[in-house]
Amino acid sequence: MVKKDDEKGYVDIINGRYKPRGIFHISEANQPIFNKDTGKLAGVTNPRDMTYIHSYGGEAIFFESLGKGKLMASRCDNDNCETKGSIYEPFRIFCPDCLRRATPIDISDKARKKAKIHSFIVTHRSGAFNSLSLPIKFINVEFDEEVVTILMSVLALGEPEIGKRIIPIFRTKAPTYTIMDLMFVPEGTSESELPEGFTF
């Protein structure tokens, strides 16, 4: 069920503090659970309608960039690190080896030229709060030798195959500021075929 704007919770940060406004919980009465065969009480339901707050911290740049059509990764530039030069996608705030802050870099072009499917799975099931249409085509995206990790995403069009070349697409119209603002399509897809709200 879709809430009206005045039933939702919003948060701003002012002077380094969270300032929530709106509704963060909606109370609802417990419902009893009865054993229909014996007529005896067995338990109760516990309705919970709650909104949580979550900080992206140093990863915020990744999630904000998606809505601007950019794929950000991070790279360790510490001269003293054994794995200097490693690029991480998923984005990491810190290098996992030397724990120095990594440098955010734009790998949109690298992704367009090199991204391919490392593995995939097509599922016909989902869980509560899912907004992707079924079946969901999960893919794992490898880039090149410099990018040492393999990103999980979704194939928006076509059928997944290991090794298939893919291109990132971004939810630039009405971004959600979540990982849902990124998907991939097979190389050669035209802009007119892209899902609603997405651009290259």
Binding site: F63, P96, S126, G127, V148, T149, I162
Partner: protein, 473 residues
């Protein structure tokens, strides 16, 4: 990390021998709509007392500290469940702690208990685990389980954990299974075996007499995985009590020596960087140099096809206990068959077979209590309790259930736990007319793997008859 220091590869040392004195478990089922969690925990501890002919009151007198495994607080909306259960067991005000490592929770709870006794902090420690995921409908349950993935980078995609896990299965299927029909059949044989073994287990939730065709015709969950390739979702409890030598011999005539070690890996499979394969005692340098040639695409380690956490836990545990070759040195194993294919991956990770050859453990008949090819006892039977596919996966309890089951074989008391008509009746289950004993005859050493999700945590527990140790203290 992808490189280790010598300090990090140090073989763990127990400062004194630790013994498993008794074990117990509850019935396992999909749901217990009229049972409170504590009732199942009390069933498990009472069973442990019964096993050594004590009242729960008398057994409890030995316990000094408690390690409680329960993974998914958020299902039940109750934090500090360990405090609730500890109180209901009447063990307050003893020190206790809650342990959470996903599917490895049971094994991790035992890891903590063993370390407490090994250090001398306690002479007797209780490891008890439980789980219930029945108190939400399926879609909501799928979402809550998906919270065990990365909440920003994975969970929002579908809110379904299968997606994040099955990509590993896909890659193994294509690269090591070569998408062969024969391999698909081998996967199915695991389900047939484990569901069939579950028929002999009154505690088991999912006994079934099925064929390979039944598995191949079951509904697709996420290709190549079908419904019968997948483990159960369960409710229940299991426990074990570990002690120093003197205390253990007060409780039981023959306590079992216990060794346990833990490994881990990244939460996201995405983050698993390529690295050299750490070798187990039965492997040789250079053995895997041509793995990528034999299996194109299989040159990235651990990649999506191996569980480094399992390998590390086996590395530590084998070196602690003196195991060189699990097939030669062990008599029975309980492995974490979350899916048929992840079972095969684990055979390789813990050295039952080399990387790339996991399927031969099943195809040779070695994994069966009675080898279907030779009709003789299997070389290293696996999951005679029915495993996660046939018996249960009550997450916080699973690892402890597996340790209990291995214990029953080494104690030569498997029949006592699985045969009695009264137990079958009490559990409301029908004992099959063709019930047969799955006691692994002459078992002296066994192993249990407790594993979390896509391999973020794994523990490896080894139990040995104290008169059949490999390594002298």
């Amino acid at each position: 990390m992808i490189k280790f220091s010598d300090k990090q590869l140090k073989i763990p040392k127990l400062m004194r021998p630790v013994y498993l004195a008794t074990v117990g478990m509850s019935k396992f089922d999909r749901a217990f709509p009229e049972t409170r969690t504590e009732e199942l925990c009390i069933d498990a501890l009472t069973a442990a007392a019964d096993f050594v002919n004590m009242t729960p009151k008398d057994l409890k007198k030995y316990i000094h500290t408690c390690y409680y495994g329960h993974f998914a607080d958020h299902f039940g909306d109750q934090l500090l469940g360990e405090a609730v259960i500890h109180d209901r067991l009447g063990l307050d005000p003893l020190g206790n702690i809650g342990v959470k490592t996903g599917g490895a929770t049971g094994g991790s709870a035992m890891w903590e208990a063993v370390k407490a006794v090994a250090s001398g902090y306690s002479d007797c420690a209780l490891a008890l685990g439980w789980e219930r995921m029945d108190e939400v409908p399926t879609d909501e349950g799928n979402h809550l389980i998906s919270a065990a993935a990365d909440k920003d980078w994975e969970t929002p995609l579908g809110h379904i954990y299968t997606g994040y896990y099955a990509v590993m299965a896909q890659r193994y299927w294509k690269i090591f299974g070569k998408e062969e029909e024969s391999f698909r059949n081998t996967m199915a044989e695991i389900a047939v075996k484990n569901r069939g073994y579950a028929r002999m287990n009154p505690h088991a939730q999912g006994p079934m007499k099925i064929t390979v065709e039944d598995v191949l015709n079951s509904p697709i969950v996420a290709y190549p995985l079908r419904a019968l390739d997948c483990c159960l979702m369960s409710v229940g409890s299991a426990c074990g009590i570990v002690c120093d030598e003197n205390t253990a011999y007060e409780i039981v005539d023959k306590p079992l020596r216990i060794y346990i070690a833990a490994g881990s890996h990244t939460l996201r499979v995405a983050d698993r960087r390529n690295m050299k394969i750490p070798l187990l005692p039965n492997e040789t340098k250079g053995q895997y140099d041509d793995l990528g040639k034999k299996f194109p695409g299989g040159d990235r380690y651990p990649g999506f096809t191996s569980f480094l956490a399992a390998r590390m836990s086996a590395y530590y545990a084998y070196n602690m206990s003196g195991v060189i070759d699990p097939c030669e040195d062990l008599d029975v194993v309980e492995l974490h068959d979350a899916f048929t294919i992840s079972d095969i991956q684990t055979y390789e990770d813990i050295g039952i077979r080399p990387y790339g050859e996991g399927r031969t453990y099943i195809e040779s008949g070695d994994a069966y209590v009675i080898n279907p090819i030779t009709k003789k006892p299997g070389k290293l039977p696996s999951n005679p309790c029915g495993g996660l596919i046939g018996c249960m996966h009550a997450v916080g309890a699973t690892g402890l259930m597996q340790i209990a089951e291995i214990g029953y074989h080494i104690w030569n008391r498997w029949d006592e736990i699985h045969e009695p008509e009264e137990k079958w009746k009490a559990f409301g289950r029908e004992k099959p007319k063709d019930w047969e004993s799955l006691q692994v005859k002459g078992a002296k050493r066994g192993l249990a793997i407790s594993h979390a999700g896509v391999g973020s945590h794994v523990t490896c527990t080894i139990l040995m008859d104290p008169n059949n140790l490999i390594k002298e203290d």
